[in-house]
């Protein structure tokens, strides 16, 4: 039986487990949207307000569910609006399948209305992309797109489908399969790893997104306990262990905890698991390795030795490598090192007060959350405070833009994450700057009746840039004071959500006590514009340059 290209798309989505997709219709995807109309019983399409946010929603959905997120957009501006969302997923290794329409094949290459070369534009920010030129290839390409997005190191894949191919008809017997060359991984040899671990006296684990995406939390904790190694995290890895686990030192790097900086200074072996030694995590790479050995485990062979040279490289899925390692690794106790870890953790103590400040705000919201509450953030000071003070308990509960640092990521991601988490109450921590970049998506949170609590850290400034201007640019506050008159509570009501201005901690408690079950709630929290994110390792510095207090 012959099927249209659009019907092939729908069947491929269903076959690959995509029961929820995010998107925005337009001229070049009309045939696909017509099939979505007929297949509403099989696929839930979430209509967003902007394609960028739709991409972030698919990204958030993928981070929570572990399945590839799917976003659909039309040609031209629809496709270009996806670019930031695709780049965001690429930098954070999130499985994403982006489907774009394009003009009909005879119109390609003629600067037709709403035509862009989206495969060319996205080439450097996707794991792979396809421009479909023959309907016979469409089915195989879509299967390959899902396989590439979710296998190995996950990432985004874009499939560009001209409108004429969506309406062409093709019989299953004519389908082709895609010949792609999947990179085979080198053999894992554990002998040198075992020797290094056995000879180390002060081992430290540096754990990242690869531990979360491969579901290796149990193996991580087993390894840490087996060899008395405290664990410090990249931002992408932060949820792998519960915050109250004694060996958990929290995040490392530029705004990492003082305890992780202290233990990092003293360690003699770094066991790096599913990380890429980002400059935000390492600081000055020349000083980073001094006096330390590094064992680097990663599924992406090109990540090993890219930013920091490893003494031992183990290329493979973190979970599988750790399982092999744990079979061979004896218990090696370092009681003095564990004591040093407990002592270092006292450095992370935060004084208690009744002020509405970032610490109290986060701790108060946390007290109303359950271990599986999905937390999304935007980018800036509020994001770093969330990493420092929010007590994460469960993997895949944190949606944050790590590699790309995308202001405006949070609301779309929170929508996708909430839907993936059975529409349970979800929290977005954002700033007045970040929220201003995506707030039209409140419309979607309302139309989907989502129980989102949106907590705005409203300090009237672009706080993180202002902090740098204070510290490194002689307090030249160039274009970081917003001078806006936005009433976020009134804005929320205009969108059909609930909104409240919060000036005191007790008002926050009251607002969180009984939030609406099927409507977003915007809490506009008034904060001081000169709160700093501390500790901080200045850009290009090393842990020895750690700033812990304002002077």
């Amino acid at each position: 039986m012959k099927k249209s290209g659009a019907a092939i798309v729908i069947d491929a989505l269903c076959r690959n487990g995509a029961d929820t997709v995010f998107g925005y219709p337009g001229g070049a995807v009309l045939p696909i949207y017509d099939e979505l109309y007929k297949n509403a019983h099989r696929i839930n399409h979430v209509l967003c307000a902007h394609e960028q946010n739709a991409a972030h929603a698919a990204d958030g959905f993928a981070r929570v569910s572990g399945k590839p997120g799917v976003v659909i957009a039309t040609s031209g501006p629809g496709a270009t609006n996806l670019v930031t969302g695709i780049a965001n997923a690429y930098l954070d290794s999130v499985p994403l399948v982006a489907i774009t329409g394009n003009v009909a094949v005879p119109l390609l290459g003629r600067d037709s209305f709403q035509e862009v070369d989206i495969t060319g534009i996205t080439q450097e920010i996707v794991k792979h992309n396809f421009a479909v030129s023959d309907i016979k290839d469409l089915n195989g390409i879509l299967d390959a797109a899902f396989q590439i997005a979710s296998s190995g190191r996950p990432g985004p894949v874009l499939v560009d489908i001209p409108k004429s191919i969506q309406t062409d008809m093709c019989d299953e017997s004519e389908y082709t399969s895609q010949e792609l060359f999947f990179n085979s991984l080198p053999e894992v040899d554990l002998s040198e790893t075992l020797r290094l671990i056995e000879s180390a006296e002060r081992p430290l684990i540096y754990s990242g997104g690869g531990v979360v995406s491969s579901g290796a939390s149990d193996e991580l904790l087993a390894l840490a306990k087996r060899i008395s190694a405290p664990v410090t995290f990249s931002m992408m890895g932060l949820t792998a262990l519960p915050a109250n686990e004694p060996l958990n030192l929290g995040m490392c790097g530029m705004h990492g905890t003082a305890s992780s900086a202290k233990m990092f200074t003293e360690c003699d072996l770094i066991i790096a698991l599913g990380v890429r030694f980002s400059d935000r995590a390492t600081g000055n790479t020349a000083k980073y390795k001094e006096g330390k050995k590094i064992i680097h485990v990663d599924i992406d062979h090109a990540e090993i030795n890219k930013n920091t040279a490893a003494d031992v490289e183990l290329c493979g899925e973190v979970k599988a490598v750790l399982q092999q390692l744990l079979q061979k690794l004896p218990r090696i106790a370092h009681p003095e090192w564990e004591k040093a870890c407990a002592k270092a953790k006292k450095l992370d103590f935060h004084p208690v007060s009744d002020q509405l400040n970032p610490v109290n705000l986060l701790k108060t919201v946390a007290s109303y959350c359950t271990p599986d509450t999905v937390i999304a953030t935007d980018v800036g000071q509020h994001q770093m405070w969330t990493m420092q003070y929010f007590p994460f308990q469960t993997p895949r509960t944190l949606l944050t833009s790590g590699g790309l640092g995308t202001m405006g990521f949070g609301l779309g991601a929170a929508i996708g994450g909430c839907i993936a988490n059975d529409r349970k109450p979800t929290v977005l921590f954002t700033g007045d700057g970040s929220f201003g970049m995506c707030l039209q998506e409140l419309a979607t949170a309302v139309s989907q009746n989502l129980p989102l609590t949106i907590v705005i850290f409203n300090n009237g400034v672009l706080g993180m840039v202002r902090q740098w201007q204070t510290m490194f640019y002689d307090k030249h506050y160039s274009h970081t004071t917003l001078n806006r008159k936005t009433d976020f509570a009134a804005l929320a009501r205009a969108f059909g959500a609930k909104g409240k201005k919060i000036t005191r901690l007790v008002e926050l408690e009251r607002a969180l006590f009984n939030p609406p079950a099927d409507t977003p709630l915007v809490l506009d929290c008034q904060l001081d514009m000169d709160e700093f994110v501390l500790p901080m390792i200045p850009p290009g510095g090393s842990v020895s340059d750690l700033i812990t207090q304002r002077n």
Binding site: E124, H128, A131, F181, F182, H301, A302, K306
Partner: protein, 82 residues
């Protein structure tokens, strides 16, 4: 800095050369010379790319190239392998 050659067997369809040279540009490595030709199997092409770089750069480039789904094989030819 040593001169080295990367010999690639790649899929023979439009856009593949762009992906390879785009990767060099993205990683900020220069191409000194480049040859491409179809093989006896019309589905495959061979590319030889000459660049300069130390062993760390050579390793990084070959590993990045192996990740591309249009690249079947990557062979590094340098002073120690030639």
């Amino acid at each position: 800095m040593e001169r080295f050659i990367v010999e690639l067997t790649v899929a023979n369809h439009c856009g593949v050369l762009n992906r390879i040279t785009g990767l060099y540009a993205k990683r900020k490595y220069n191409i000194d010379s480049l040859t491409v030709h179809e093989t006896r199997d019309p589905a495959l092409s061979v590319m030889r790319i000459v660049s300069c770089g130390d062993t760390a750069i050579q390793q990084q480039m070959t590993r990045q190239l192996r990740k591309l789904f249009d690249v079947k094989t990557v062979v590094l030819l340098n002073n120690s392998t030639l």
